[in-house]
């Protein structure tokens, strides 16, 4: 049986991967190279204007990518060749649909030949970068500051004091509780599935609908100040402005609950959205948080035009998994207690 599945899967995944790779547009090479000189690639392309004169970023986009945030330790260069990037994408697409070994913890998952294949089945820009981080030049997060190290230790101790991961619903990660995911951020980073965003522009506002978890980021463009420092929100307070072709969004007023990559609530985030081609948007962000890192760092992701509409990700409504996980943990505790009682009681 398993042998048959293996043949079936390898027979499925390889042609699919090859089919899409042969038609994949180059959204990386020249544009990514151009991006190094801060926007020179945008010179060749001028985005159309909305009726009120803003560069038009509207529509559906995906930030799906196989490029890791940090450069792998065995890679020293900044860019792959197109051939290398295609080969990595092809191999990773096949791996995503590979069978796992029955009876191993890694095998407990839904059907990877059917679900979670957005990057191999849907739109994706081919990014030639070896890491999304562009600064520092080594493509890796800067070292933690002394304060950042202390806070990381404090947070780990606080987590431990709250008990096991399934002892209470509050101990479950934010994504399992349908509160916030890395697709949302901010900053907004892709994952294995549901990486679509819809941008809508109206006079004075930009709205970014994040597919997962169906959150609308509404960014005022009228120059109003940020919220008062005592007002803290999961996704912070975002204010936007145009810098030529580029939409610049600055976010502060975060909480320490999301803690992007271990950040503090005083992280200051600057996102830059530039449409560099009809079907490509360059998303750059800079993180400034001296309470966490020894210096600021920046990353860059290419967003590819995607098709819509977005099917509502009504996460809470369908989140049976959270109940099942907690119910499973209680059932295990009960079994363990019964076994312990059996051992104690004389025969």
């Amino acid at each position: 049986m398993n042998h048959r599945f293996l043949v079936l899967v390898s027979g499925l995944a390889v042609p699919v991967a090859v089919a899409w790779l042969s038609s994949m547009p180059v959204a990386g090479q020249t544009r990514s190279a151009g991006a190094r000189t801060s926007g020179s690639s945008a010179k060749a392309y001028t985005a159309p204007r909305t009726p009120d004169g803003q560069p038009d970023l509207q529509g559906f986009w995906t930030n799906a990518t196989y490029t890791p945030l940090e450069r792998p330790k065995n890679v020293s260069k900044e860019f792959y060749t197109r051939e290398e990037a295609l080969e990595i994408a092809k191999r990773t697409a096949v791996e995503e649909a590979e069978q796992t070994e029955p009876g191993t913890v890694a095998d407990v998952h839904y059907d990877f030949t059917q679900f979670g294949l957005d990057r191999s089945q849907g739109a994706m820009a081919l990014n030639l970068r070896t890491s999304l981080i562009v600064d520092p030049a080594d493509g890796r997060l800067p070292p933690l500051s002394a304060e950042g190290q202390r806070r990381a230790a404090d947070r780990a101790a606080a987590r431990k004091s709250r008990g096991g991961p399934h002892d209470a619903v509050q101990n479950e990660p934010l994504q399992a509780r349908c509160i916030l995911m890395d697709r949302n951020g901010p900053p907004m980073l892709g994952g294995a599935y549901n990486n679509t965003y819809q941008i809508m522009q109206a006079p004075g506002y930009v709205m970014i609908l994040v597919e997962m978890l169906h959150d609308a980021r509404i960014v005022p463009l009228d120059g109003r100040p940020q919220l008062a420092p005592n007002v803290r929100q999961w996704t912070g307070s975002s204010r936007g402005r145009w810098d030529g072709q580029t939409l610049v969004v600055e976010t502060t007023n975060l909480t320490d609950k999301f803690a992007f990559q271990g950040s503090s609530e005083n992280m200051r985030l600057t996102e830059r959205f530039t449409r560099v081609a009809e079907d490509t948007l360059r998303y750059q962000f800079t993180v400034e948080d001296p309470a966490t890192w020894t210096k600021p760092w920046s990353a860059e992701v290419l967003w590819q035009r995607d098709k819509g509409p977005i099917f509502e990700h009504a996460c809470h409504e369908g989140n049976y998994g959270l109940y099942n996980t907690l119910a499973g943990a209680r059932a295990e505790e009960k079994r363990a207690a019964e076994e312990a009682a059996k051992k104690k009681s004389p025969k």
Binding site: S23, V108, D111, C178, E317, N324, G328
Partner: protein
């Protein structure tokens, strides 16, 4: 047999890096590695919902009694983009499902392999083909 193990083993190693990012929760916390199952049943309802879709399946047990199972699948969003609708999988379709049962011992499980009675996959290998190009349209 030995060869199968070897090939599957390579796949498992490669997936170690990819698997953790595929889900919004930890599968092994919800489902029991020690309770694998293989069911054959008919689809009674398909909940095309997020964060995970659920297949409701009627399964006959050894005594001939019909028992309802709920099987977890992935987020349906990408399937919908590829043209799969709630009508793609007809109620009454016979399915063979391999997976792992929920830790709380109820008739729920994760559908590790979802296969039609004729051996075909449900969607990507059947009704929904690969995309025309990687741009995804407008």
């Amino acid at each position: 047999m030995r060869m199968r193990r070897a090939v599957v083993g390579v796949g498992a190693v490669l997936l170690l890096a990819a698997a953790p990012v595929m889900a919004h929760h930890a599968f092994s916390a919800e489902f029991d590695i020690n309770k694998p199952f293989k069911l054959r049943g008919t689809l009674t309802k398909w909940e095309m919902i997020n964060p995970h879709s659920w297949f409701h399946v009627d399964v006959k047990d050894e005594s001939g009694t019909v028992v309802e199972w709920m099987i977890e699948g992935g987020s349906p969003n990408q399937l919908i983009k590829q043209g799969v609708t709630k009508h793609t999988l007809v109620i009454g379709t016979e399915l063979t499902i391999e997976g792992y049962q929920a830790k709380d011992g109820t008739n729920k499980g994760v559908g590790r392999n979802l296969v039609l009675a004729n051996g075909q996959r449900l969607f990507l290998g059947g009704t929904a083909g690969p995309p025309d190009n990687k741009q995804g349209g407008k």
